[in-house]
Symmetry: C2
Subunit: 433 residues, 2 copies
Amino acid sequence: MTTGTDQIRVPSDPTANDALIADFVTMSTFGATQAGGVERQAATAEDGANREWLSTWLTDRGFTVSYDRVGNQFGLFELVPGAPYVLAGSHLDSQPRGGKYDGAYGVLAAAHAMNRLRNYYEAHPKAAKFNLAVVNWFNEEGSRFKPSMQGSGVFTGKITLETALTTTDSAGTTVGQALGDLDMLGEHDVFTVGDHHTEGGLMVASYAEIHIEQGRELDKAGITMGLVDSTWGANKYEISVVGSQAHTGATAIADRQDALYGASLAVVALRDLADRYGDSLHTSCGQLTVYPNSPVVVAREVHMHLDLRSSSDELLDDADEALNRAFAEIELKADVEIQRRFAHRWKGHTYTPEGVELAGRVIDDLGISRQNVRTRAGHDSTNMKDVVPTVMLFVPSVDGVSHAENEYTHDQDLITGTDVLTETLARMAEGEL
Amino acid sequence: MTTGTDQIRVPSDPTANDALIADFVTMSTFGATQAGGVERQAATAEDGANREWLSTWLTDRGFTVSYDRVGNQFGLFELVPGAPYVLAGSHLDSQPRGGKYDGAYGVLAAAHAMNRLRNYYEAHPKAAKFNLAVVNWFNEEGSRFKPSMQGSGVFTGKITLETALTTTDSAGTTVGQALGDLDMLGEHDVFTVGDHHTEGGLMVASYAEIHIEQGRELDKAGITMGLVDSTWGANKYEISVVGSQAHTGATAIADRQDALYGASLAVVALRDLADRYGDSLHTSCGQLTVYPNSPVVVAREVHMHLDLRSSSDELLDDADEALNRAFAEIELKADVEIQRRFAHRWKGHTYTPEGVELAGRVIDDLGISRQNVRTRAGHDSTNMKDVVPTVMLFVPSVDGVSHAENEYTHDQDLITGTDVLTETLARMAEGEL
């Protein structure tokens, strides 16, 4: 066990730090929006260009780049022939008009950290037990193709490959077509994970990810590093509210089966549910589409995506029941039918305790402030922690803004986070996790 | 004044009736949907094909077809050189997945009626005082290009030509471009109406329109003909609900400015308003669009179209005030801003009493059941009644279904309505209105 700053393998370095910030500025030009955000939805031209840039960056530094069968992008560097890999990364895709830090920072930090480790272990060839790999997971955001965390979901066996590849966007394009058009769909897998992902050959020893917090706890408390020790569970639903198309002027209120009225009652019921449980339950509806969506036509159908999130799986079960009761009341009140089309659930879980401890020691050794945090948002690490020892780190997000163009993290926090990630990965590569 | 069935100029005729139904079946193939409706939004290819078919039908029977500067389509037949025209028609455009009767029946009934009058007056050349014209108004529905009743709105000076021609659909195409592409945009006007529409030259003596009821009063009462004696007033609004884009998982409920939550509260408030006033107020929201509309993003903005309709202008004023108070409460409750982007209003009005009387006598002479009705929906006649003596007739609509693919009117009612329209137009052509 290491203690004290004299044990740091790869100390912070002004040249490396400047390169990180410069690369982040360059990368943020892919899909840049006027308001300072990015729009790089999964497997669009902008996402493809950014991936291409990352490939070049990695290849220039001696990494071997390859894609697996669901378009996850890996940069591999072998230190110990035949040994498993320490994997680190996040995702480069964004929400529509999203922020430039969400995911992208984690991929770039991982690439820089691994590159610093490559230099270090070339000078210390006996120190490493494992090999190094960077990953850019496909479609973490789930805006163009649903659900979210799709690439890591397939990687960890939670979604079948076929289901993912045949998923369509609103224009009817499949994931397989979109990735094929970019020439970013591998014919084989890269890694073998459990019995569901057997084609690869390489093994994963452990995984680390760094991300902006997307909440304001660290920012409010003035703490630099967050150690994610657990995640909220989530229930996600797709529902259809089915009514009957009619003329808005001529149809008496009593005769209406107004799908949009029913959907609006559902949105309000969802918020009432959150208010009832206090801050331990988050409920949201971010996507709602009206058919036919004409000003003088009572809507015949509305499609909605809902989510419920909580730290307590039991509370989620309760909330789910309460929502069903609210739906039954809405069906009567608005004279509509509410159909559940899809449900997706992930339970709340703790992150690898040894990973939390390891990163905690690194942060202390570097003399940086830290606190444990619980993530409400899902991340690729939420999938990875269930199959390999995993570390998840947060840096502060100013005012907690996320999934928005004004998402912001200070450069110094980006640098500190990368230093922490580098040192954590070094200890992982030497077998401390 | 005529009384008794012996005064009927153009009695019902099995050959003419069969031709009407056959033509209606043919016309309903333009933009036909699988579920038995039509989709022929204004100035689309389907609308254009239907208009082309009507042109051929009219030209084959000796009418001269021309378009005015906003794409209203006229078929003119001169009986009395230099005299004003009796005009009859409705609109061929439809809602998305709309019914096949709404508007289309009125145009075809007018064409058949005018053609029967042409035959009759060629045999009785001294009887007519006025000339005959059929009209297919541009964009009555207002679904692709807003607002509704656009062609008759320009014709009657309620909308300026320039405003109409520069209106864009959701793809950014203007009315002028869409009509120009179909080659259905005239360089000059056809008729002169008041001082706002001076280019035409021809004068309108009076106007008649027949339409399905789009309500269930006639169907429920078992009455064949409705005489429209008044129209409901309407307030139409476009509003934006402005919030702040955020992550649905990570953002605490208290920190959200959820535009979709605000919009949903507005839809519910709108329905509550209707419930408060009973059946004398109709309120609707049929169009609602969410930005960015992603399942894991709290919406930053929602655009909505609302309408309030009532028989009482005073009640509309009250409801408008109540709605404003509700909006102010919603702004506080959801922490959003509600912006009014557009408002459009038409006051409730009576139809030409002499027109109601004339058509009532015709219906009695034909021995058909009738009752007076008030229209809640707007029609092109709602515009026309303010500039020339106007008759508006309804035939029953089974179960009051409208703006939906299962809209249905019995063939016999289509035939009877056309007989009533024919005889009413004959008396109008002879100067009785």
